[in-house]
Symmetry: C2
């Protein structure tokens, strides 16, 4: 056990060897095709379909946010209609709703999974509701069946923000198979990364053409522009990084599983800490390690954050503030704290602690030692 001599963050990016990357760059540079859906891009799309166990299609993007913007666009939701989501997510989720001229409606979360609470969804449904945007936060999983039932009953589209959920599974089914479209993020902070990047997964292969178009300015060919598209292209260098990282992420996951075992065992002994437990049918993506600092813990979440920071451990109050607290959303009727009691309670209690394969066990021990109040 030792105090780190440099800052320790909650994650550290998975990286291929420079030697391996250089070999691929040589091929890319000599081909002169650096972007615009090249060979590496297309190969990565193919491989990801397998890795994510998708029955449908997958389209790569330059980041998860642009992917989610296009997911909402391609579903052709009525202008100005309402999308039910949660405030327990990264800023990109509601922002993408607004960029599509749609209105975010915040629904509360469940205390165990911190995903949208299906029992709270129906009360938010109005004649203007067009979709439910669930977030598989931390790589935990939404109640996809219950959400599906509600969506069918009210004829709503279902989108999942699976930014945290790379390789998560529900009943051994790849998480990207649920809903109409799921968005994955491949940002440097994610289990699997392309430095920046993302993808859409969708069962309906008929969406492929339109998603391709929207990602590439709506251009179908040199003389045909079909949609008001955008530039969502992932370039060849990043696709090459992705192809190499695909060989590494399983090993990273195993290391994280071991670290999780250690944290679970050690932290569960400390009074006032709740460790979220996944249902047995959920396969974790090991994206983050959140803990809940309950009222009977020896200090507050904020003080614990400060204490750890002073000893070079940079945790994250993830998610504080809630999206419903942002200036741009706080005046929405659904942003009212009374509507979101669980999210508003947990925003002051959750802390994500350092969680990545190469975190030395001595530092993990030190983190637990400090959390225990030493």
């Amino acid at each position: 056990m030792k105090m780190p001599d440099k800052p320790i963050y909650i994650t550290s990016p998975l990286l291929p060897s420079l030697e391996d990357l250089n070999r691929e760059l040589k091929i890319i540079f000599s081909s002169k095709q650096l972007t615009n859906m090249g060979n590496y891009h297309n190969l990565l799309e193919q491989k990801l379909k397998d890795v994510l166990k998708l029955k449908g299609s997958l389209s790569l993007f330059n980041n998860g946010t642009i992917a989610l913007m296009i997911a909402l666009k391609v579903l052709n939701l009525a202008q100005g209609s309402e999308v039910i989501t949660t405030p327990w997510t990264f800023a990109a989720t509601p922002h993408c709703i607004v960029w599509n001229n749609l209105k975010p409606v915040f629904c509360d979360i469940k205390r165990d999974s911190m995903c949208i609470d299906p029992s709270q969804i129906e009360k938010h449904i109005t004649k203007n509701t067009s979709a439910i945007l669930g977030v598989h936060v931390y790589g935990f999983a939404c109640d996809v069946e219950k959400i599906e039932t509600i969506a069918k009953k009210y004829n709503l589209k279902v989108i999942y923000d699976a930014a945290h959920a790379f390789s998560s599974e529900i009943d051994a089914i790849g998480i990207g198979n649920f809903g109409d479209i799921s968005m994955f993020s491949f940002h440097a902070t994610k289990l699997f990364n392309t430095i920046e990047g993302g993808a859409l997964a969708y069962p309906d292969k008929n969406l492929e053409r339109q998603i391709y178009n929207f990602r590439n300015f709506g251009i179908r060919n040199e003389e045909l522009v079909e949609e008001v598209g955008i530039n969502g292209k992932l370039n060849e260098l990043q696709a090459a990084v992705g192809l190499l990282n695909l060989k590494l992420f399983e090993n990273e996951k195993q290391k994280r599983a071991k670290l999780k075992d250690f944290y679970d065992k050690t932290l569960s002994k400390i009074i006032g800490i709740t460790i979220p437990k996944l249902a047995s049918n959920i396969k974790n993506s090991y994206q983050y390690y959140p803990i809940i600092i309950e009222n009977n813990f020896w200090t507050s979440r904020n003080e614990l954050y400060d204490i750890l920071r002073k000893v070079n451990i940079f945790t994250r109050k993830y998610f504080y503030p809630l999206c419903s607290d942002y200036e741009c959303y706080k005046n929405l009727p659904s942003a009212n704290a009374e509507n979101l009691p669980v999210a508003n309670e947990l925003k002051n209690k959750v802390l994500c602690i350092p969680f990545y394969g190469d975190l030395p066990i001595s530092i993990a021990e030190f983190i637990c030692y400090k959390i225990a109040g030493n």
Copy 2:
């Protein structure tokens, strides 16, 4: 002179040596900061300010389209208001207007510069007009003074799509100093590239904070989200490519200047070809080499395109179709061909021919030989 044995395209990307890039990647990989406004990103912003001779600020983006979307957003134009632009541009220009809930209004172009015709702008101004979006097409330059005068008279914002105009100058002033905001593209096809990428240049430094925010989800710091932002971040690998390419682009420009001299001299002898001439106060970016195939040329533009294609020369009908011909815009009142006589004439006459530093002179000779009707 010889016929190429493989396809020759209109451009070929400028690339650093793999050895140089590998040295930088080593530093980036060991720092573990792969994105989110890192050292390479910030250094490239500084250097670009000098290279582009900017008096104001510059902000990098992951591509020019996202940059232009944010340019329009940050100027806070009235929702649903009209932006006067031209149909003689890449699809991204009008698309960014629409993504901001603004309406594109197409104005005709000048025959010499193929940029917006200032004498045609005022007739499009209504009480709903909020901005003029000029395009410095091919790296040629808009009549910035005349546009400025009109904008002042009607209190309009001025945005320039300078995607083609890297290092162009007007009266020895960097082209990014004109208007309220200019967008540069650093796509692989551009004179200077970061594989994909772009930037906004703007004289008003007060916009810096907001542009920073919009590019990064509106996040100011860990606990403050200020805007409905997006992910427009350029990562460190691409910034490193940019820093290396900055050392190379002047040499590339010199090579293109020589090629232009050769083309000018050779093609001007052919009856029915017009070569656009820049005003003497404009410094060219040498982005593209467009020629106009006039009615007295020995064949049509389309036939010339096909003839060249058969001998491995892939030219571009740049711009055919016009943006005003796209399905998504053709029903706008301003898309009417009668409103856009010059653009509609030139769309059937312009051809961009291969134009990059490493184009062998023997192939340039072959291209001219074929264009001459041999």
